[in-house]
Symmetry: C2
Subunit: 362 residues, 2 copies
């Protein structure tokens, strides 16, 4: 069978061979790690050599595809058992990464169905299972590209007739965190491909420096006109240069449009609002959780102090100082211009107006 | 003669002996360096073992006092020549540190006057000169304490009847940057001494980390209830906890109250305004430059990219990324609740209403 070929920066997948860019070594060293099966897949996920919920799910599932592809199955039961056991094992590598868990559940359901269907041979079952993994990869990229297209159009429409735009982003939402295109960074990628991007600014994103380490790495790799700023420079930037829009990702969007995302997002939204800069959130439609009415219910995880006091085992803050290290914050809907999904761009008001069938249709 | 005794964290001065805390080694190592004369004074200023414009001036002048004190002068001309030559040499250690230049000019003028006055003996001249240096040290501390008193009162009056206050500060304005008490940190010190401080939050202050390295160090040393946050967490902090006031320092205040200060200050002012948190600037009255009508004229220095891309020679940002690294920003008067000086607290409106004699009187 012909497998999909994926040759993006973070995940290289061709002819049943899988390699991932080791994100622990970034930005100092760019080194690919071969993932020769589920055991390797578990390790690269567990050691955070691959990160970002969509990317973890894709790499986990592809590592299973690598292992199954050369095998020959004479009965479907042994294939089903192998699939179920290995997917559950992969979920255990990062139990909080929800996308891997959902992908595993979907694939186990598929495997059970195929196993029960007497019209499916063992070879058919294997092929259809591998195709399902391919489809996941393909869908993530297709959805990201649609997000990129919708977001770029919204920013250009909102850009007061500017032929070129200057955008700001926070954290990493690029090919390193997804199957290969990115959400907020996918929008910026589309603007660049369309020759509409004058400059992209990315924040360092303290304390884990995803902006300085990962987003900056991707922007340099893609040869985009890019500038890194510290997190405390956003207001000065907006005062001294006209910024066309802010575009960020989302961990979760509530039914009213309130958005939980990497710490610092809310502050950028406040500063953008003060400077009348449009503020967009880019995320797959599935990130919208219609079961939570607003952001008040979202619990903010607090992370270890060491993330703030040290950089690579080197102490950067005074010994004995107490730290507050929330992992994310909630941006109220009132500060959000639009939520960019693969289905289109919704203002928080429009989101509230969606009917049930639109909400469930995916 | 009895010299003033100064036993603060950064500058120890007693019986003609001077020691300074080596700020390059902070926060990892707390080590004092003996300054045995002008040569040592030049070195610690030039190597930035002491920093902060007021602190540089004090250490420079005290290093001259250390050298002159044990000497016996039989003629005033040789004393005058030594003073002039060594002060000019000290200015050359950090030519941009304006306080050292002004202090040198004042002391050279005094030395010329004493030298010309026939009623003054060589021994008298030496004693009066050393007393003038002592007076500089004493005035800086007294002014800072007055700033502390006025600022603490303003914050408590504004605190909606709270018996305890929670304040946020940015960068380092403490005893490490001044003769020994601090401006904005002096206000916090006063609140703490008066048992009115529930919690002080300090920002990391990227890219040079003065908050994480120096302010946090002082707060731990003074045993204040203190918490470090990243620069992108200010809005999340103000949303989740009630902050009574922000208090920051100033590099220069324009006649209308616009204030130039460390990069990031303007952003905190925008965020404080959004959350209705009072925003105070603390600075000696001499920091107000009545010759510049507003902040538009203030040129923003841009610093080397390496400050952002590296921490202690370790690369933290992706190679090849371009950086924007402005050293400070300008907070518009409209976002400032009050400017706290040793003469009292002025709203930007009150500042504009000061008559010429009040402006010049110091």
């Amino acid at each position: 069978m012909q497998l999909l070929r994926n040759n993006n920066l973070a995940i290289k997948w061709e002819d049943g061979k899988l390699e991932i860019l080791d994100q622990i070594l970034l930005p100092v060293i760019s080194k690919y790690v071969a993932v020769k099966g589920v055991e390797d897949g578990w390790k690269v996920i567990n050691k955070m050599q691959v990160r970002g919920a969509p990317a973890i799910a894709i790499v986990g599932c592809l590592s299973l595809a690598v292992e199954i592809q050369p095998e020959v199955f004479t009965d479907k039961k042994s294939l089903r058992q192998e699939i179920e056991g290995k997917l559950n094992y992969l979920v255990s590598a990062r139990p909080t990464a929800v996308n891997m868990k959902i992908a595993a559940e979907d694939l186990i359901t598929l495997s059970n169905q195929l196993s029960k269907d007497d019209s499916v041979s063992p070879a058919d079952m294997k092929e259809r299972f591998l195709k399902a993994i391919d489809a996941m990869l393909e869908k993530d990229i297709a959805d990201n590209k649609a997000i990129g297209r919708h977001g770029a159009q919204a920013i250009l429409n909102n850009g007061a007739g500017d032929s070129l735009v200057r955008v700001l982003t926070h954290c990493n939402t690029g090919s390193l965190a997804t199957a290969g295109y990115g959400t907020a960074l996918g929008v910026i990628r589309t603007l660049h491909a369309d020759k509409k991007l004058e400059q992209v600014y990315c924040t360092e994103t303290r304390p884990y420096n995803q902006g300085a380490r990962l987003t900056a790495y991707e922007l340099v790799h893609e040869k985009m006109p890019a500038t890194l700023i510290c997190d405390d420079m956003v207001a000065a930037l907006m005062k001294s240069r006209t910024i066309s829009a802010v575009i960020v990702g989302a961990d979760r969007v509530a039914a009213n449009g309130d958005t939980a995302n990497k710490i610092g997002t809310y502050q950028i939204a406040v500063v953008a609002n003060y400077h009348s800069v449009p503020f967009y959130v880019a995320a797959p439609f599935t990130s919208i959780d219609f079961t939570i009415p607003n952001g008040d219910r979202i619990i903010i995880e607090e992370r270890p102090e060491r993330e703030m006091t040290h950089i690579n085992d080197q102490r950067v803050a005074a010994a004995g100082i107490q730290c507050w290290n929330p992992a994310f914050d909630v941006t109220p809907a009132a500060l959000i211009t639009g939520i960019v999904t693969e289905k289109g761009v919704y203002s928080p008001e429009e989101l509230k107006g969606l009917n049930v069938s639109e909400k469930l249709q995916d």
